[in-house]
Symmetry: D2
Subunit: 418 residues, 4 copies
């Protein structure tokens, strides 16, 4: 989380505009969903869309309005507990596995809650004397909401995937594509600098910017495709213990996996557009870290470290497939050079999520944002087709447990030396 | 399940009328519920209201229309699996713990399903040449639906009870009542006859009517009240191992119980009308078999056997508090003699649920209705404030596992001798 | 538990003799076992042999010596908790699932504990002024120890069965036998009397003797054999849901069962003499209630009630295969008439374990012996090849949960009518 | 694992001597234990001492004798599966949670197995033409056995700690000590080199030696003491969510922890010498990574990275408290400067266990030694009072999951800057 005084350049007016746009997009994402779709929780790790809609609103109410609105009164006192996610400093929180039990408040009331907070936020953001801290917190809330936009999509995908009717959320993805040949891109390494260093927003976990020593390495020019991953599976990859981390091998057995999460027998794949034939040229998605690691070993390669990834990505603009076509599904690479760095699929790195040298969490409740998850998680980089455009950057660190596969998580290979 | 030829007396027209009335009542029970309320499953043992609405409809479609409607075509082929409860003979069934994941079909579509089947059932039931078997199956479906009417209420009560907002389903129960003094009613016993013997409908588990030998016994004139149960709790009943069955003692610890399921600290009770002060004169409800048994031991009494209960109830008309006031909550007894035999609360008996001598399950899928649950369940008798009026009778056998307490289950005491 | 004044006929001298003999037999049963064998607990339901050796001794120390020995001092104060099984009235008890963690005291010390208590018991039982109550409690302790003799065998069988070396405890059972044809034996029923009524010892759960009304019924002349059960399995019995109780069907899946507990692929069976070819004529053993019930349904029969069983057995002397050959394995029937009533295998009945009319548990800690288990258990009758000779009788009620199969539990079929 | 050709300097004779000495020490460690103590498994993560005794022997039999002994015949074919730990390449393995069920073979037979393999190993190691690969594998087996020596102690400590008798394994630790004041030792950092670089043995996970960039940092001069950790607990450290990683906070609740694993109420601590008063000056031991991390945060510090630790330790000889006094318990620091780097307690680092740049696992089964555990583990450094003297070195990487606390794991604090 950025310190309040670091972002003087952001004007309240710009934030107010972004606030309105981001909030409208969240509502639009929930548009195709019924009240039932928005209410049910498909597993502990996922949350109902209604909860996402309310929790993001709670964030603004709690961290901005409660501190900076005159005469603040809570929209509904019970929401303070109901829609707190994990901020222990704020007080009690409703247990995560029971988020799906909240049939009340109904969706309509949560949407009303959003509108009410939006109006009050607009008023606060229009104040001339607004403190820099308030602006920074509003900015944080906007980025926080963008993260939940992605989770709305991945959580609803998980829920719908468990319905025998296999319903579609939206448009059907294209199929039948071919990916360009994968080539190795070399990097000399040396003492490089990573971490956020520019003007714009970043999370606290991207700081401080610091030096890292890299040996020469190569990265694959694009993400591993469905077709390539199918070769691994067909070659018995899921049945050869030597390819797997010990935990991964146990996970294959206990989770009963023989392919990525949404692959279906007979060549199909469940997508946000329903079940479609798997696109051989599109990046494989919804693999766990264990699967990514095993594939890399089978391919005679390895996963990149996050520093290798960031160094390679440092010069690139964050452009790519962020679901702008409304399909929210990865597509075959169509660019030369280092393609698909941003968008399509999050790329598992071999780096455990840990504090950067000199890292300090922000004081207060917002300091609970990132640091407290720094154990037993792997870093992913680059964003996916479900990530909001403009949300990621080269220094952005996403993180999930090794077994997680309901995100659009994929694979980019790396190798030692040039 | 009655044999087809035993019920010639029931006319199709009478069944058609009952069909329409019962189906309308089910819809009315779901009226106060939002689509979200109807979708969520609060625990494995409970089902969503939407599932109840669909499953009862599936029953008529599968067991009546599929066999007796000309040119039968399923409303939606997928429903055959989705809304099958446990009839293995019918084919696959959707896993019970995942009933709450079915956000699709939406509530509106399930209501449309109901209307469509109702129209087709009306046409079939109007046929002059309708076979006796079809009438019997329709009759069975009606009684089946009444059972689910009760479950809609108890399942939604459980769901709402877990919501921190503690929402009300309907009207607030009355409070502050006083129960008449409990007196012992004596029965001489001897060789008596139990089981269903009359003209009307019954389930197969109530047959055959048979002789039982009873020693002299006494029954309490009314159900145990909240006030009486409060004495037990205040006297340390939940902390004295000697009062409990071994399994019950373990259950108290593992379930963390110190009072009936819906009692709240400070004298409150969660009801279908929200949290209210506990009514001292009303029957205690939502106790497990373990609690009923421990209370009886503490009170120097025991629970009745189902034969003792049925023999005592044999002469009584099934009248009582079946929620006709729309409050769906037990009320203090107001009658002299053997009061509250029917309605208010189901009464735990010390009888395990077992086949009557000579019992034979009906052939085919409907034979899966009762017999296959005859292990590790205790029989309850008499109906509750959530049971549809007209559904129970003296020979009616309800059954639940000893740990179950989300039904309106209460206690009537018994003693040996006159 | 018998009341003290009911057993005046038993002389202290006779009890002292029986005490010595029973205690010596327990030690002999443990003789073939190593200290390791005696220490390990293979599952929560089973106990280590060392624990059985100590707990039975604790029983005499606590219920006899502590009350009737002058100047009583405990052998080791810690044993009061360590070797208490479930008597909550006595105080704390060591958690059952952790019995296998007690590597100390070592076996040698537990054997020394036995010898010390034996000497003190001998002194007490030799006293001329010994009260009738002490004699009754010693008698109870003897029968209690006999129950644990059986458990030593069944628990060690379970432990050894899990060892890939499949070690033998003792002699190899015979094989290749043929059973006489099964014939139906008819009983007219009527008002009969069951429960213990004679002079000798009985447990409290066998009382009071009382009348029961039985309809005419038939019992199979012998137990179901391995060969017959093999037909059921070969005919797909484990894959046909219609044959099973609903709980049983779930149990087949969750326990992964396709045959009795100790059957091995290829026709073998694990026995206390190691793995041997299954004896087709010997009674099938180690089936759960679910399997017994499913087999009976497949065979067009049912399981007997405990009253039917006891009425049929009432005239018979308790003679049979109680492992007198040191093989502790069921053998093919070799008698005409109603064979194998006693010994070979415990016979599942369809009766849930419940108090007899007028049952009252004994006061004090020994009253915890039986009554508190009267829920979710099925009654078994007749004793097995692991039951000590002289321990069972026609009125004896054994009980286990429906899923239990590590006892020598088998099947006798019954039918309605003559 | 070192490559065969890297260790030409080690003579077979030297290995033979070390082999004999290490094997004798293992047997000596098991000396105080009864057959029962050696058989029981107290939790899935721990193994029985008998299993350790056999598995280390299996290692030599499988990786040395099977390949390099002429006319090799297995000691007992079943042991190949029974005592395989996790080498999937070798074939089936006995399930880890069932290691405690192996009452057979008895301890005496496992000791005979050890003697037999020792004789055959001596013969092989005496061969003049022995290949370098065999020597390297024998050396690996020796180090492997040393690891299991430590586990014998920590696993038996866990087992005995669960016994209500709280038995002692060996000598009572001293108590009442005072630690020297903690001071901060500064390191300038820069581009340093870590990883194994010398002549002697190392595991594959310590290689390749490589450069790392370190910012200036400080390390505490000694380990955190019981007295200091007591302050943390007394100050409510276990009840303040802000101090904990999110996973750690959940772990405190689910594990029910309010102090280190072996702390007892009233100031006691369970040790391998029984329960003794906690020594305020001795290093706190048996804390999880979560506890170490929370303590550091409370103390305004952090845990070191493994590179920081190794750089600081690089010049030090591996001397310290390795239990040479036979007490196997940490003692107060008694040296100036950077004390307790080696011995006393393993020191949690904030580094997740990951491959060094350029790491390649050895080919074949021994390549399963380290690499396959490189996820969801934290690195610990420095050895403990239970580590065999001579086993550790500055580059040694131990690793355990964050929740593990049955090892002698403790805390050294670090800070940014000089």
């Amino acid at each position: 989380m950025p310190r309040p005084d670091e972002h003087r350049g952001v004007t309240p007016a710009a934030v107010a505009d972004r606030y309105a746009a981001i909030r409208a997009r969240t509502a639009a994402l929930a548009e195709p969903l019924s009240p039932e779709d928005c209410c049910v929780q498909s597993m502990t790790e996922a949350s109902p869309a209604k909860w996402h809609l309310a929790h993001t609103t709670w964030f603004f109410e709690t961290f901005v309005l409660e501190r900076f609105e005159e005469g603040f009164r809570p929209f509904a006192p019970a929401y303070r507990v109901l829609f707190n996610s994990y901020y222990n400093s704020i007080g009690d929180k409703h247990p995560r596995p029971e988020r799906g039990l909240l049939t009340r408040p109904p969706l309509a009331e949560v949407l009303a809650y959003r509108r009410a907070i939006d109006a009050r936020m607009a008023a606060v953001l229009a104040r001339r004397d607004l403190s820099a801290e308030a602006v920074v917190l509003a900015e944080l809330g906007i980025h926080h909401e963008q993260q939940h936009q992605e989770l709305i999509l991945t959580d609803i995908k998980h829920l719908l995937s468990l319905n025998p009717l296999q319903p579609a959320y939206g448009k059907t993805p294209e199929s039948g594509s071919a990916a360009p040949e994968m080539v190795w891109m070399g990097f000399e390494g040396g003492t490089v600098v990573i971490g956020h260093g520019g003007e714009g927003f970043c999370y606290d976990n991207e700081t401080p910017r610091h030096r890292v020593l890299l040996e020469p390495y190569r990265l694959a020019s694009r993400a591993v495709t469905n077709g390539e991953f199918q070769e691994f599976a067909a070659a018995g990859g899921y049945r050869d213990a030597r390819l797997w981390l010990a935990e991964g091998w146990d996970w294959v057995a206990s989770a009963g996996r023989s392919g990525p999460l949404y692959w279906r027998r007979g060549g199909g794949e469940f997508t946000l557009g329903g079940v479609v034939p798997r696109d051989p040229g599109a990046p494989v998605a919804h693999v766990s870290y264990y699967e990514a690691d095993a594939f890399a070993r089978w391919a005679g390669a390895r996963l990149p470290t996050e520093a290798e990834w960031e160094h390679a990505a440092a010069g690139a603009l964050p452009v790519g497939n962020f679901g702008q076509d409304g399909r929210f599904h990865p597509r075959a690479a169509d660019a030369a050079g280092l393609a698909q760095i941003f968008g399509d699929v999050w790329e598992w790195t071999q780096s455990a999520y840990a504090p950067y040298p000199g890292f300090r969490a922000a004081p207060g409740a917002v300091g609970e944002y990132n640091g407290k998850f720094m154990v037993n998680q792997q870093v992913l980089r680059g964003g996916s087709c479900a990530t909001p455009e403009g949300h990621v950057r080269a220094s952005y660190r996403n993180f999930f447990p090794a077994a997680a596969s309901w995100q659009f998580s994929g694979i980019r290979l790396a190798r030692d030396g040039l």
